[in-house]
Amino acid sequence: MNLTLILFYVLAVAAVATAAGLLLSRNSVYAALFLVLNFATVAVFYLLLGAPFIALVQVTVYAGAIMVLFLFVIMLLGAEKLPKGQVLPWQRPLAIGLAALLLVEAGFLLFQRLRTTAILPAPGAELNTTATLQTLGLALFNQYLLPFEVTSLLLLVAMVGAIVLTKQVKGEQA
């Protein structure tokens, strides 16, 4: 039993718990906050996996930007609780059933087919050599230049799209 493993188990439980919290909370703000926690745990996972840059990006982008955006919208729309009323009665049981089935299949896949016994070592000295920011940047700008540029275009499009979608024509009610 080593430290990382204990840490891992704790974090795993935390991740699952927060995800369940997101699922079950009636209050949208609580759900958003649960998700933030989830992102945080996943960020630590990334650290454990020797990807510090990704971990920080996770915190910055996901928890910092995206969740803030979510909270803004929740605040804007002010619809935290929704009226009761089940329109599709069979939706919930069926969804739970299917999810369980999916889980079973995933487990089957993992432990029957894949059967990996790989142990991922704790991050060590390679953090300074292979997984550094420089290496990532070099790879990004050499091999993955095209996706990079396309992604920038994608961001531009998203921006334009967001503005267009929320634009109000003069004369319309706000």
Partner: protein, 105 residues
């Protein structure tokens, strides 16, 4: 104690699977559009985790790079999606997805 040992790959993958399932369940069960969106983000996250785990396992960098892109795309997607929800809220005054069933056949 204090030894920094390894973590089995399958552990990470199991967590990823559970998170993904929970995210999928969230999409299906919840009626709040924003919660559904958040569940989608959860699913994406689970996938990212699996990516990085495998990248570590095979000792390549491309998994991390891919996660980089996924994050970027998901950020863009959230922006647009939330804009959509706001626009819909303006006309329907509700974010209950069950209320947006006018494409009913």
């Amino acid at each position: 104690m204090g030894e920094l040992g390894g973590i089995p790959l399958s552990g990470f993958l199991a967590v990823s699977a559970i998170l993904f399932t929970l995210g999928a369940l969230g999409v299906l069960i919840r009626r709040n559009a924003i919660i559904i969106f958040m569940s989608i983000e959860l699913m994406l996250n689970a996938a990212n985790l699996a990516f990085v785990a495998f990248a570590r396992s095979y000792d390549v960098l491309s998994g991390q790079l891919f996660v980089f892109f996924v994050m970027t795309v998901s950020a863009a997607e959230v922006a647009v999606g939330l804009a959509l929800i706001v626009a819909i809220f303006r006309s329907k005054h509700s974010i209950d997805v069950d209320q947006m069933s006018s494409l009913k056949g």
